[in-house]
């Protein structure tokens, strides 16, 4: 049962990456909006994420409440060891969301629009990096080691060695860069489907291709650094029985995504890009299982009592019955064939 719930956590994190991640990616492209259609690019991004970003954001909350209800020691451990990057990530989340709302609903004048756009874009750029850094720190196994030291209460350790160095290493930064490029890649690929203007679509096609290269480079770099920095995950990714299959599938979806972008098969590219991101995430999870925080905290030794887990699963099932149709409705309403005239729903 605990394994099933850990699986749900992975699915929720997956949904956050594919949906919330793309919203952050949209902010990244707001930051890098260039060329003659700069304003149109920004408008398309705002229109694409406006109705849905708050709902997409809730996937992260779901991961958090799931962890603290079903795996309390994992949540409290992560919060101790990753206090600093998590706090920075929260600041990014707060500024991204607030600035977006201020820009959408506040004064339509140029000055405030530009300023809030800037805050929105920069926060969108930094937050994914911090999310990646946190995941990298968990995968590296150093969070777990530090926690042991903190709980033993040894002393003698410096602040930096306990609360900074576990998450600040070339490997974690590479994972942060990977998260950023992945989110930007997802966003650009989705936006090629959502643009109704051919030139705008080409803009995002070029961006998606560039981001695909960035994903490839950062993923390669992270894998390379993992050998020394995250040996357990690295070993899993190289030596497990499922590893070859995973790599083949990831490579196929990556190539398919690029090929589809190249040949302008927008919808195929969107599916392939989402598949690629999913496989990267699942590869990490599979290589790390059954550890939630290696090298000590596993699914088994941190799970809440059975009664709590059972109730959580029931609540989850009931929640899903209500929420999935609602989410489907939201997306059908705003993401299906673009039935509206451009800009009709922009509240400027």
């Amino acid at each position: 049962m605990a394994t099933a719930i850990a699986f749900v956590a992975l699915v929720a994190l997956n949904a956050y990456v594919l949906l919330g991640g793309a919203d952050f990616g949209g902010g990244v492209w707001d930051f890098f909006a260039t060329g003659p259609r700069r304003a149109e690019q920004r408008a398309l991004i705002a229109e694409a994420i406006g109705p849905i970003w708050e709902a997409n954001h809730v996937w992260l909350i779901l991961v958090v409440v799931l962890l603290f209800t079903c795996f309390p020691p994992v949540f409290s451990g992560l919060a101790i060891a990753l206090h600093i990057p998590l706090t920075l990530m929260l600041i990014g989340i707060v500024l991204r969301g607030s600035a977006f709302a201020f820009r959408s609903y506040g004064s339509a004048e140029d000055g405030p629009q530009r300023r809030w756009g800037r805050v929105f874009a920069i926060a969108s750029l930094l937050t994914p990096v911090l999310l990646g850094v946190c995941i990298g720190a968990i995968a590296s196994g150093r969070v777990g080691v530090i926690l042991e030291q903190v709980y033993r209460g040894g002393g003698g350790e410096s602040f930096v060695s306990l609360y900074v160095s576990p998450w600040l290493s070339p490997f974690t930064i590479a994972v942060g860069a990977l998260a950023l490029s992945l989110f930007a890649f997802l966003a650009a690929t989705y936006l090629t489907v959502e643009a109704d203007d051919a030139e705008l679509r080409e803009d995002f096609r070029r961006r998606a291709l560039a981001a695909a290269i960035a994903v490839f480079v950062t993923a390669f770099l992270a894998l390379l650094l993992a050998r020394s920095h995250a040996p357990r995950v690295s070993a899993g990714l190289i030596a497990s029985a499922w590893a070859p299959l995973l790599h083949v599938l990831t490579a196929v979806s990556a190539i398919l995504a690029i090929a589809a972008l190249w040949t302008r098969k927008w919808r195929v590219a969107r599916v392939a890009a989402a598949a690629q991101a999913t496989l990267i995430l699942w590869g990490w999870a599979a290589a790390q299982a059954p550890y939630l925080i290696p090298p000590t905290l596993t699914i088994g030794n941190t799970a809440a009592p059975r009664r709590t887990l059972a109730l959580f699963l029931i609540a989850l099932a009931l929640g899903a019955v209500v929420l999935f149709p609602s989410i489907a409705y939201l997306f059908r309403l705003f993401k299906s064939a673009r039935m509206h005239e451009p800009g009709a729903n922009r509240t400027k």
């Binding site: 109705p51 909350i61 949540f75 809440a304 609602s326 939201l330």
Partner: protein
């Protein structure tokens, strides 16, 4: 500043900031759907304009509420990992349900805000109603978790660890009912009067502005009933606290000594050293009467518990006086409005009433801040009353003053921006006269 105090301060700032936006998210959808329903029924386009303008303000406030709520869900662990480790399995359930309710809220707010042209009128109102219902449900679940911290149930302690965990029993914690009732009424009263106050202020400048007249009436429809009923809910809450958390009641009332026929103290400053409350107006037997509905009942004072288990008495007492004082003002104002309205008098033209409504604008929110101060500071030094001390729950990371200052600065900045944006929105209100809007879109 020590680490525990810094962590407590950061939590206080985060909760105090978030609650303002959370409350708006509960009550504003009700105002919006009333306005929208009136537009559909009467064809009076000014109500549509009103619903849309309120929706704009709500969108800003909801976004800030969503992200500041996220901060809190993380801070539970970032600041209080000891608490989460202990309590996660017991009380994570209502937080999870709150997550689902918030999901529904976010989904249907998106539908509501961006769906004006895309869905049928009926679907649009239903979406608004779902936002209102899920907003109230979110509040319900979060308050259950807080109630559990006051009256922990659903587990047994064995060697300092919880065993026989029963999340359902934890959710049925005795404090839940009265805390939820008090909070929901507070949300409707505070938001209703805040909005009514803003439009009342605008009506003082121009009482014939038909837009503000309609806004005033809708806001009062929500705020007035809640404010009038709230003292009853407050009485229920106080009696529960008297039974379940005597030190909290003693701090609220500045009651140092255990005595029968305890007086009710209005105002005053508790002097912890001298163990008495100075400069209060004392109503003989008042506290015994209110807390136990018996003028001679024994009220346990702070002397009934060891000194190390006392909450910070002056803070709790003064916050409680502020809450009760301002709440009483709102209830009396509500009665006045109700009398005027029942006599079919023109509320907007009554300058004294409009002045009273305008100054009431911030009061409900001040009440909420003061009320949460009472319940949170009054629970100290415990994070889980009688079970876990706040100091034992705090994160081992030193230097917590830094995140406290960073988060405080961030929220000060956001608070100023939001205030400015809302001011801007209000100042751009349309100037309309009776009859201006009636030719515009008529409901199908």
């Amino acid at each position: 500043m020590g680490d525990v105090l810094a962590a407590r301060s950061q939590m206080a700032v985060s909760l105090g900031f978030h609650i303002l936006f959370a409350v708006v998210g509960i009550a504003m959808p009700v105002l919006m759907i009333i306005a929208e329903a009136r537009w559909r029924r009467t064809g009076d386009a000014m109500y549509l304009e009103l619903a849309k303008r309120w929706a704009k303000g709500t969108a800003i406030l909801f976004a800030v509420g969503a992200v500041s709520g996220t901060v809190i869900s993380f801070e539970l662990g970032l600041l209080w990992p000891g608490f989460m480790r202990f309590a996660g399995a017991i009380i994570g359930m209502p937080f999870s349900l709150e997550g689902f309710a918030f999901f529904a809220e976010a989904i249907f707010l998106g539908v509501y805000l961006y769906g004006w042209q895309r869905i049928s009128p009926r679907a649009h109102i239903v979406a608004g109603a779902l936002v209102a219902v899920s907003g109230a449900a979110s509040a319900l679940f979060v308050v259950i978790a807080n109630a559990w911290m006051n009256t922990p149930t659903g587990f047994r302690l064995q060697n300092g660890a919880p065993v026989d965990v029963d999340p359902i029993a934890a959710m049925l914690t005795p404090a839940a009912f009265h805390e939820i009732l008090h909070m929901l009424l507070a949300a409707y009263a505070a938001t209703g009067f805040a909005v009514a106050g803003i439009h009342g202020f605008m009506l003082l400048r121009d009482h014939r502005n038909a837009f503000h007249r309609r806004a005033l009436v809708v806001a009062l429809m929500v705020g007035v009933p809640a404010a009038i009923v709230q003292p009853i809910s407050g009485d229920i809450s106080a009696r529960y606290v008297a039974q379940r958390q005597p030190p909290k009641l003693a701090a609220m009332e500045g009651q140092f000594r255990t005595e029968s026929g305890a007086p009710l103290r209005l105002g005053g400053i508790p002097d912890v050293v001298a163990q008495r409350t100075r400069w209060a107006i004392e109503i003989p037997n008042g506290l015994s009467l209110l807390a136990f509905h018996d003028p001679h009942a024994v009220v346990r004072g702070l002397d009934a518990v060891p000194r190390r288990d006392w909450p910070p008495v002056p803070v709790v007492h003064v916050a409680f006086q502020i809450m009760v004082g301002l709440g009483t003002y709102l209830a009396l104002l509500g009665v006045w409005v109700a009398i005027e309205a029942s006599r079919r008098r023109d509320l907007a033209a009554n300058r004294w009433l409009m002045r009273a409504v305008a100054i009431a604008s911030p009061m409900g929110f001040l009440c909420i801040e003061a009320g949460w101060t009472v319940t949170e500071v009054g629970r100290q030094p415990w994070v889980i009353f009688g079970v876990m001390r706040t100091a034992d729950a705090v994160t081992p990371m030193p230097g917590l003053i830094v995140p406290f200052l960073v988060i405080s600065a961030l929220y000060c900045f956001l608070g100023v921006v939001v205030a400015w944006l809302l001011y801007d929105l209000v100042m751009r209100s349309p100037i309309m006269r009776e009859g201006d809007g009636t030719m515009a879109p008529v409901a199908a």
